[in-house]
Homo-oligomer: 113 residues x 2
DNA sequence: CTAACGTACAACTATATGGTTGTAGATCAG
DNA sequence: CTGATCTACAACCATATAGTTGTACGTTAG
């Protein structure tokens, strides 16, 4: 199964926006390492449960984590796919920059000295 | 010269926040490819000059671009360093995920079937 | 059954963002 | 010198974020 890996502007916005908060990055890090319920996650942060819930919701909306019911709990898992898409974006930017360098080099070879 | 590549939470916040907008990503893309003045950049977007100015200011605050006076113009250049730091962040997340997979594999080998 | 737990969601506040218009200073062209 | 250009910045508005508290509901433990 080949999945369309083209991301709309809105989707990319959401991914980067979701990563622009230290608490959310920590949740991504933790849930990539091992899944955890929302309440277990919440214990480690100096804020209300509802606040953590909102962070998880934003991460879920960006596709960076998935939530799975287990009894009364909601298990949160990090999603490496979304990370990879963000990496791809940044890679294209680096490629663009390398392209510029290559063009500058070519220019220098044409007009040496 | 070795530069400290450790980023504070605030700095990382700013980088991802700056990347969470399609106009700003486009400015990064363009200025990585070739430097351009703020007004030249602004011509291509359906918003006021002041709005583009603010986007550039946010990118500059995040270190994603640098601004250089040239006469009455301000020349904007993309900064690949900041891109690389964001890439590094995402790479560590992927490493964390791979670490989990490795641990799962080891577990399966210990308890086969 | 009952109490505690985990979650969902609404309402509210404060601050940040993304846009606007307007004013003003510096520089360039003629 | 004068006018056009490029930029800077303030003030304002609408919306989104990040946090709070409070209420409600399903699930689990005893």
């Amino acid at each position: 199964m080949v999945v369309d890996q083209t991301l709309s502007d809105i989707e990319v916005d959401r991914i980067f926006r979701a990563l622009a908060d230290a608490t959310r990055r920590d949740i991504v890090r933790r849930t990539l390492s091992a899944e955890a319920s929302v309440s277990v996650l919440a214990r480690d942060y100096d804020m209300s449960f509802a606040a953590v819930q909102k962070h998880v919701a934003m991460l879920e909306g960006a596709g960076l984590v998935t939530k799975h019911p287990r009894g009364r709990e909601r298990i949160v898992r990090g999603n490496p796919e979304a990370i990879r898409r963000a990496q791809q974006l940044l890679n294209t930017y680096e490629q663009i920059w390398r392209g510029r360098i290559d063009r500058l080099d070519a220019l220098l070879e044409e007009n040496p000295g």
